[in-house]
């Protein structure tokens, strides 16, 4: 039952399946109803499931997450949309102080099956606050799980798994990959939500990435192959928890690691990976773990974003630097 579809459509189909399967699943957010979301990810859902299950909310992100928490306490499983990455911060308080901690605060009596969907990342020529990658700000918070699919098939299945999770999941959607198509088999047996996957095998160096940067890393590996270098590409898929076992296994083989993300390098997930992999693989490493990502500057205006975002050459440069050790 494999069908080729764009990532946006895959998420839409996954939400549809969840709404059909469980009457407690709700979709909430700004413009998610009649409009179908600004990226059309929720297109047609309100028409088919009604406005009490696919809910256009007031323009108040804290209110969206705060009421979703209340609905979860009542037994619902809300999937809320934050329209853009840079708009999540009004809800940051509710996510960090309430959503993340409610289960622990209740000594396990209360569960918080809430999915927060956030279209994130740059590369679409947008105005300020529409291109950010704030995943590290959430990964730092215990109680949250953070995932980001890189392709349509993962987007479909990881959404199914996120909705089924009894923990709050922040689901980062790489908006610049929304229209990339891939085969989605809706009858497949999916990989576990928080396991990384080797998407290209190699022997000389490991590129680790998630979300929008996986495709770039695959392109880098293809370019490097032309120069006779064999790069392994690891799609991490989950930022919290991170699949360190998978990274370790790959690095023990290749002995070199470059982590790539759009988010700023400073205090980013690459830093955490570098530290832990250094602990785990100290005697295997031939080079320090290198990171490629955004700079310690506000996300730049669109005409500069190509300079800010990791691209083929910047990642290849890091690969060369690693291999030079």
């Amino acid at each position: 039952m494999a069908e080729k579809m764009a990532m946006a459509k895959a998420i839409n189909e996954s939400l549809r399946r969840a709404l059909e399967a469980d009457p407690k699943v709700l979709v909430m957010g700004e413009d998610v109803g009649k409009l179908g979301g600004v990226f059309r990810v929720t297109d047609g859902l309100q028409k088919d499931f009604g406005d009490s299950r696919v809910i256009d909310t007031p323009l108040a992100e804290s209110g969206i997450v705060g009421t979703a928490i209340g609905l979860a306490l009542r037994g619902y499983r809300p999937v809320v949309e934050i329209q853009f990455d840079g708009f999540v911060f009004p809800a940051y308080d509710q996510i960090v102080t309430q959503l993340a901690k409610m289960h622990a605060r209740s000594l396990g009596k209360v569960k918080m099956p809430v999915v927060v969907r956030i279209p994130y990342g740059g590369g679409i020529g947008a105005v300020e606050h529409h291109s950010e990658s704030p995943e590290a700000l959430f990964a730092h918070v215990a109680g949250l799980k953070i995932v980001s699919p890189s392709n349509a098939s993962d987007a479909y299945w990881m959404m199914q798994q996120a909705i089924q999770s009894d923990d709050p999941v922040i689901y980062f959607e790489p908006k610049r990959r929304y229209w990339d198509k891939a085969e989605v088999d809706v009858e497949a047996i999916p990989a576990p939500l928080h396991k990384a996957q080797v998407v290209r095998e190699g022997t000389d160096l490991t590129l680790a990435a998630y979300g929008p940067m996986v495709k770039l890393c695959q392109e880098v590996a293809a370019a490097a192959a032309e120069e006779g270098k064999s790069l392994e590409v690891l799609d991490l898929r989950s930022v919290s928890p991170l699949d360190f076992d998978a990274i370790q296994a790959s690095v023990e083989k290749t002995r070199r690691l470059v982590v790539v993300h759009e988010a700023p390098v400073f205090f980013g997930s690459g830093g955490e990976i570098a530290a832990r992999i250094t602990e785990r693989c100290f005697y295997h490493l031939e080079a320090p773990v290198l990171r490629v990502g955004g700079y310690h500057a506000p996300y730049p205006p669109a005409r500069l974003e190509e300079e800010y975002l990791p691209d083929l050459d910047r990642v290849l440069d890091a690969v060369d630097r690693s291999l030079a050790y």
């Binding site: 804290s62 705060g66 009421t67 209340g70 009596k109 109680g143 009894d166 991170l242």
Partner: protein, 417 residues
């Protein structure tokens, strides 16, 4: 779901809720004229002015019992307490006395070092018992961290409230056992949870109601404003019960608002009403009315219980730095327990035996609480890692194992105990 604004408008137009006319303007001029940047030296002056001006410009309260304990008629709200029996009145009195006793014991336990902190409800017993006793078993309560009286009404064992103040947990009861949510410390957050819960109640087609507690300080929080918006738009069956105890730690109400708080509701399209928060009967009646509106699909209501925080914000606070004794003394004359006692005595609804028995029950409660707290064990070290996630998390597992190994290293050093 649709907005049932017509019903809401009719209700507020009926005149229960005062209007935002000249009263609001004069209140606004009072606090607004001096602006936000008051100097320290002028801080006291406006407060005196406020206390004086309040008598003439503050809107009327819904009151069924005067501070002297005299029952006064109220055409709108009398019906909500029409069936109340002398036994019910004694019950309300008992609730308030026991709550105050429990609260005093907790304060004492903090002073003895048994609790790290306590947030006293002293003075707010009527607001909490009146509103708490208005709820039905299937209703759901979202408290702040000071609703010990409401917890009492919901049947939460008072000793369970003390775990978080002793530092052995962050919330020691199952919210669904009594439909009493965990204490929420971040100011105002719970009003959104209450609203979402109420939206769920409406989706389920149930006729339960939800009540969210918050204070005058919280009224400034964006989450409270958003909860008003959401509940109004979705016509959610929720009552916002604001205990205006006049002080947000050191900040008086005029640092939070230019209009009487209950009037905020009007801008959101639902009724607001100010009730004498030291009058347990009025709080009971007004909350019953508001909960009934919620059950009938008439949407949210804001109740402002006008009361006074007789004690400090918490045991860590020192009110002598920001308010004078005379204000407290003025409120002591309006004490919620005293006024019901006067009423009971004047109406011959309670004899000396009742009060003596209650005194003994109070002391027994104090003793039980004291002993329970002292016997409360410290949590196991590994509780740090428990319930971080419902479905587990690899990093938590890894760090738990590291912690265990570290702990075990001491045992090895001590000879393998």
């Amino acid at each position: 779901m649709t907005v049932d604004s017509s019903a809401a408008r009719k209700r507020s137009a009926a005149g229960k809720a005062g209007t935002t006319g000249s009263k609001a303007d004069s209140a606004g001029t009072k606090s607004g004229a001096t602006g936000a940047k008051r100097t320290t030296s002028t801080t006291r002056a406006p407060r005196t002015a406020r206390a004086g001006a309040k008598k003439s410009t503050e809107p009327e309260l819904v009151q069924l019992l005067t501070p002297e304990g005299k029952r006064v008629k109220n055409a709108v709200y009398d019906s909500y307490v029409a069936g109340i029996t002398p036994e019910d009145l004694r019950g309300l009195y008992r609730d308030m006395v026991l709550t105050r006793r429990f609260d005093a014991e907790a304060t004492a336990l903090q002073r003895q070092g048994e609790l790290g902190l306590w947030a006293s409800l002293l003075g707010q017993e009527a607001a909490q018992i009146g509103s708490g006793r208005a709820t039905r078993e299937d209703d759901y309560v979202f408290p702040t961290y000071r609703e010990h009286g409401v917890a009492w009404c919901r049947g939460v064992d008072p000793t369970n409230l003390l775990g978080m103040f002793r530092g052995v947990n962050n919330g020691g009861w199952d919210p669904n056992s009594n439909n009493f949510h965990l204490y929420t410390i971040v100011i105002g957050s719970q009003t959104l949870h209450a609203t979402g819960y109420a939206m769920g109640v409406a989706k389920d087609g149930a006729d339960s109601a939800v009540i969210a507690y918050f204070g005058d300080g919280a009224s400034s929080q964006g989450d409270v404003a958003e909860s008003f918006t959401f509940s109004a738009v979705y016509n959610a069956p929720v009552v916002f019960f604001c205990q205006n105890n006049q002080w947000a730690i050191s900040e008086p109400t005029e640092k939070q608002t230019r209009v009487p708080l209950y009037q905020r509701a009007q801008g959101y399209g639902f009724p607001g009403v100010r009730v004498d928060g030291n009058d347990v009967l009025a709080c009971l009646a007004v909350t019953k009315w508001a909960l009934e509106r919620a059950r009938n699909g008439e949407g949210p209501t804001l109740v402002e219980a006008f009361t006074y925080r007789m004690g400090a914000h918490t045991t860590s606070d020192d009110p002598s730095r920001y308010r004078g004794d005379e204000e407290r003394q003025a409120w002591e004359a309006k004490d919620p327990i005293l006024r019901l006692r006067r009423h009971l005595e004047a109406s011959n609804h309670a004899d000396e035996g009742f009060f003596e028995e209650l005194e003994a029950e109070s002391e027994a409660l104090g003793k039980r609480v004291r002993e329970a707290v002292r016997a409360m064990p410290d949590p196991d070290h590994f509780a740090i890692f428990e319930n971080v996630y419902a479905d587990g998390h690899a990093l938590v597992d890894e760090e738990r194992a590291q912690f265990a190994a570290y702990q075990a290293s001491f045992a090895d050093a001590e000879g393998g105990h």
